[in-house]
Each structure stands twice: as structure tokens, then as C-alpha cells.
Symmetry: C2
Subunit: 201 residues, 2 copies
């Protein structure tokens, strides 16, 4: 019997996934959590075999949870389920020791199968997401460029970005200009959206 921890902020979906997984004879949902912190706390107590975690949750990122789990509870395999699969997330997730990565568009059969796969020590990444990640390629942005571009995401003017990044406005403009060049965008806002779509920021 594989003991599963389920974390998703959407109650409806969490409950539903639990119902589906419980239909399988060899799977058992032993705990549920609605936030990343809750998932972490629960996992330490319950010590599940597999953690199925939603990527986007109110507090902690699913990847952060996975990272914490992999250090604090190495016997537990983590897999991520997500609605919006961004290439960058996949990369970060794999780096964080995640063993399975699926979009929520998969069927419940696949979900159950992947739970078994990761529990057996295997890995599984949704083919479509994998293809996207490969085509997206590595981020050409330097760390600072990514920082600044991230601050630019909300549309703030350069002076505010400079203040928030503790940089001079001129430097910010240089980074942004470089990022705009690398992304092929025509201004920083487009560049920011582009980088976001690629999962670079």
C-alpha cells in the first residue's frame, strides 16, 4: 500500500483527487494539506511514501515544498501536479529533486501510474511539458537581469525598480536593455512577459 500526501489549495480538486486515488487498491491518501507550510508540517508527522503537490499554492511554492521535503524526508518521493506548466518550473522542480511532473490535464489513470512509478524510484515527466522545456532552452539572462526583469513585471517605472533593487536607475536601464536585446522584445514589459512565459523569471 502506497501512502500518499496530497497538497492543493483548491479544496474541490484536492478532495476529488483523493477520491480518485483512493479508488486504486494499492494507493491510500493518508493526509491532505491546503498550503505549502501545512503540507510540510503534515509530512513530517505522517511520513508518506509519495507527496503529490500542486505547483501554485498561497504561501510556499510547490517546488520549495519539494526541496524541503527532499532534505527533511528523503524517503518520500515528491511529484508535482500543475495547471499552468511553465518550462522554468519544470527545470527548477527537477533540480529540487522532484520525481514526477504532470499537468492537470492528464487522466486519473496516468496519475495513479505515475504515483506508482515514482514510488518505485522511477521518474516521469509529461512529454508535452518536457518538449516545451527543451524548446524553451536555457535562460540567457544573467541573475541580475532576471532580478530586474522580475521587478519590471508589474509595470513599475524604472526609478521604482531601481529603488527596490537598490541599484542606480542607469544600471537598471542597462540590465533591462540587455534583457530586451536577449529576448528580442521591443520594450521591457514585453521582455518581462516573454521571460515569464519561458519560466526564466
Amino acid at each position: 500500500m502506497i501512502r500518499i500526501l496530497l497538497a492543493d489549495d483548491e479544496h474541490l480538486i484536492r478532495g476529488a483527487m483523493a477520491a480518485l486515488l483512493s479508488l486504486e487498491d494499492d494507493l491510500e491518501v493518508v493526509a491532505q494539506a491546503a498550503t505549502g507550510a501545512e503540507a510540510l508540517a503534515t509530512a513530517r508527522v505522517v511520513r508518506p511514501d509519495v507527496a503529490v503537490i500542486d505547483l501554485q499554492m498561497p504561501d510556499l511554492d510547490g517546488v520549495s515544498v519539494a526541496q524541503a521535503l527532499s532534505t527533511h524526508l528523503p524517503t518520500c518521493s515528491t511529484m508535482i501536479v500543475t495547471s499552468h506548466g511553465r518550462p522554468g518550473h519544470l527545470k527548477r522542480a527537477l533540480a529540487a529533486g522532484v520525481r514526477g511532473f504532470l499537468p492537470k490535464t492528464v487522466s486519473s489513470d496516468v496519475l495513479a501510474t505515475v504515483v506508482r512509478t515514482v514510488h518505485a524510484g522511477g521518474r516521469y515527466v509529461d512529454p508535452a511539458l518536457a518538449a516545451e522545456a527543451i524548446s524553451a532552452g536555457d535562460s540567457p539572462l544573467t541573475p541580475r537581469e532576471a532580478d530586474v526583469l522580475e521587478l519590471a513585471l508589474e509595470g513599475a517605472p524604472i526609478d521604482e525598480i531601481a529603488r527596490r533593487a537598490s541599484l542606480s536607475p542607469g544600471t537598471v536601464r542597462n540590465y533591462l536593455s540587455s534583457a530586451v536585446g536577449k529576448t528580442g522584445a521591443s520594450n521591457r514589459h514585453e521582455a518581462a512577459r516573454f521571460a515569464r512565459a519561458r519560466g526564466w523569471i
Copy 2:
């Protein structure tokens, strides 16, 4: 027995919701769809009592589906389930004749209850979403301002917006300037994000 049509592009969630709803004695999921168009086509054949539709789907917006359903199949009550509840969506949905509006964070009990409520001719809107919609208030933007601001969302330069809106660049700048003033933003990108968050565009 209440006959339900379920539309959601996320296979996992759709299947799971179907499983949950089927647990109720008086509810029966008679059809499922993964896209808006599919939902519409299926509904005409199956003629369900209640349609439970996801707000965001690849092709047709959930609200558009609701609108189409309310004219082509007036005997079918429509309710919308969504992950990201924007105030503007709620308003549009109600205008389109939607009878129920819930976030996916609700429990399955609530979902089942609401299905029964709308089938009985009642209405139900999640209290939190309703409060948000009220606090967001009406859009102060004129229709054209909203149009132009929407085109500005992706960060395109003004010339491109002008082309896409078939307006002169000067006019576009005027509308944007006006919108920036109304939203209290410091540039169009911020204004666009603000308006988006309020559901105004």
C-alpha cells in the same frame, strides 16, 4: 435525478469532480467536455439539467459558453467554477445568465448543494467572490479605453496598439493617458495590470 454536464479542460479535475458528484444519490454526470465548443455541442444533444463549466478553457470562455447555453438551451441552468476569481468575470457571468459562481476552493459538499440550488431555480455566488466584486466597484473606463488598455496588456508599443485598434497613435495615447489617470497608475502597463486585476478588461 439531476442530469449534469461537466466542462473543464483539466482532465484530472473533470474526472475527479465527476467522481465526487456521482457519489450523490440525486446527481448524475451525463456528459463531459474538455473545451467550450465541445461543451456546447454536447449540451445540445444531451440536454442536461445543469451545466458546470470551468471559467478558463482553451477555446471558448466559460462565460461565452454560458451565454450560448442560456439562449439555445434555456431549460439548462449554468454554473461556473473557477480557480482565479476575478470580479469582472463574476459580473459578466451573471449578465450572461449564470446561476452559480464558485471558486474551486470550495468543498464537494458545497458544490453538490449549489448544483441542487441552481437546478431548483435559485442562485448562488461565493460570498468571498461577491465581496471582492462589490469592493472592486464598477469600471470607470469608457469602452474604448478598455479596448486599448487590453491591447496594452501584453506590453506592445503604442504604434502596434494603434494598428491593432485601427486608431491613430495619438488617439491611443490619449485613451491610455486617461486610463492611467483613472487607475492612479504611473504608466499604461501598471494601469493595464490594475484594470485586469479588477476585472475591468
